[in-house]
Symmetry: C2
Subunit: 349 residues, 2 copies
DNA sequence: GTTTTGATTGCAAACGTTTGATATTATATT
DNA sequence: AATATAATATCAAACGTTTGCAATCAAAAC
């Protein structure tokens, strides 16, 4: 049915070793024979079998991209970046969307190994370091190049790339403080997620830097979805002493927060400040204009893929690379722009 | 290095045929031996090699998803739907994002065949029927189960699933007419795309049904990006007799249109009506509230995957299935709600 | 006219599975 | 005790490639 290298060998009247060499541009083969083989290959409509090749070469030219939420616009940009460099270098990528489900994440990781991908880019749905000792030492058991995207390695054995989330949380909160908001809340996503907890730490350290006491009732976490932002905002507003600003775990949550505020008739930014995280494309739309912390998503995707492919191709040593990008505050219309004469003392980092 | 079936055979003291049968739950094997084999397999940390298996089985349990723009929120929902059912059934999906690049599309299609995927779901970046005769007969040459998502088969040889785009264009335009807008423009995306041209036809047929002359100067096409919507809106407004409403090829374009209108200080919906297409999640956000035509994205993704997997598993005959979903008009805040006493005559369909 | 050399080509094993055909063993039947 | 039967295990081929090594062959060197 499907034409193989043997068929070509038969009609081109040579051994299939020769066919293989001809088609793969290997040296030590007569130019005429090569041409003859190439011609009959295309005549027969030959399509190399990457599976067979993968078996002998122990290389599949395939990588896995494991992410928690493809629907959050943050990730499609990442995926595009990863894909663009992967396809440029002849790699294909398995999309593994976990919906924040750790079981699914593990199932995918297993499947990727069985399918013999050459490497994996993963945004773990849980913070690996703090989860260590639980059943999440799993990444260390995978004997493949891995780059951890927006997460941390428990062993230092993996490359990783992320924005400086702590710093991001810090400058977001600092901005709210300087804009004159007095009671700044935090509405996070998954409490167990690495980026979320780093952002929270940044939030706390900013408050501390400004001599503002941390009020645990103002710190909430649930999910990285807008419904969650809406619901938590609603309950924060019911507090005896409600906040007048909020820093959220990501932009999607912030959108939920804004929706809630609008419904309650609370004016943003006059009476309430909101800053998000990620700078997804929709945050910049004129109707939204969310103040947020920017992550260069497409670039990060590209970088992640480049790091991984370098490791795969032995161009860089495994697990050596730590890439931390600098976050940037994008001031838009959900925060006031007042400059208070604070004496800014940032904690040394 | 990696442990194989042979290693297991050696320590479990049996042939590797037996190991294979034990591990795959094949009948005709002693319960004790099976247990012994399973135990040693897990002791040795055995991971089946799906590549080797794929080679003999001629099945990879892998499908390809070829889409033009992962960044448009329409597609991540599709991808999630596809992935959820695929992973449920033990399949992995290759994400192939083409950025509307036909060359890249072809490269991907070739790669997918070489990697011996079991089937393909594709949203072609170009209308297959009208492009026939050009170099785009390519899909017909692929000897694999294919479901065409939001596109049409040239031969009828492939299953396809889509919303009724013509009808969608019709009801969108009809709504604008009934709301009392007088000069209704069309701002499309890729002119060569199937869904776009169907939507345009629907637009035209609605105008005709209401006895409104089609003004070609009001019909524009460019890209499915918001920048494109912005630019085309801007140029339409410079017309001697500019439109007072627009139906766009998708929601993303509509967002660009809205941005332009806002910048020009044109009031929506009082002085200008906008209706989009897709009902991406952001269209429903309180700050946007875009009137649009809904496509049940996640469901469509699921359906596409189910159809494909059924074909793959021989549960349904190849290419037999045509699924056309009914579009729904979602009226929000970018169109007026006036009811004119028109005598509605829809063209018979 | 041998021998040496270098360029081509072919052989056969290997990659890690699955599976039909066959062989072995244990159990049941006579 | 010999035979038939059923249950279990092994053999070996197949899937479609790549590649080290050996073989062939013509031209060059002696």
């Amino acid at each position: 049915m499907t034409v193989t290298i043997k068929d070509i060998a038969r009609v081109a009247n040579c051994s299939y070793a020769t066919v293989s060499r001809a088609l793969n541009n290997k040296p030590g083969i007569n130019a005429q024979t090569r041409q003859r083989i190439i011609d009959t290959a295309s005549q027969l409509g030959y399509q190399p079998n990457a599976i067979a090749r993968g078996l002998v070469m122990q290389r599949t030219h395939t990588i896995g991209l494991v992410i928690p939420d493809i629907v959050n616009p943050f990730f499609p940009e990442i995926a595009r970046g990863v894909e663009d460099v992967a396809s440029d270098q002849g790699y294909t990528v398995f999309l593994c969307n976990t919906n924040w489900d750790q079981t699914k994440e593990n199932v995918y990781l297993k499947a990727l190994q069985e399918k013999r991908v050459d490497g994996i880019i993963i945004t773990p749905s849980i913070d690996l370091v703090s989860a260590n000792g639980t059943n999440y030492a799993y990444l260390n058991e995978i004997n493949l190049p891995i780059v951890i995207f927006s997460g941390q390695s428990t062993t230092g054995g993996h490359s990783h790339i992320e924005i400086d989330n702590h710093r991001g949380g810090f400058i977001a909160t600092k901005h709210l403080i300087e804009a004159g908001y007095k009671r700044i809340a935090f509405i996070g996503g998954r409490e167990s997620s690495h980026s979320n907890s780093e952002r929270l730490k940044g939030y706390k350290s900013a408050l501390t830097s400004y001599g503002i006491a941390i009020d645990e009732t103002l710190i909430t976490n649930h999910d990285f979805y807008s419904e969650s932002g809406y619901a938590l905002m609603e309950s924060l507003l019911k507090l005896p002493n409600p906040p007048d600003a909020v820093f959220t775990g990501n932009d999607i949550i912030a959108l939920g927060v804004l929706e809630c505020l609008q419904k309650k008739g609370i004016r943003v930014p006059e009476d309430f400040g909101v800053v998000g995280f990620d700078n997804i494309i929709f945050s910049g739309y004129p109707q939204i204009q969310l103040t947020t912390i920017s992550q260069p998503q497409y670039l990060m995707g590209k970088l992640a893929a480049e790091i991984l492919l370098n490791e795969i191709n032995g161009l860089s040593t495994k697990g050596v690379r730590k890439t931390i990008l600098e976050p940037e505050l994008i001031i838009r219309k959900t925060t006031r722009k007042l400059n208070f004469p604070y004496n800014i003392r940032e904690k040394s980092r």
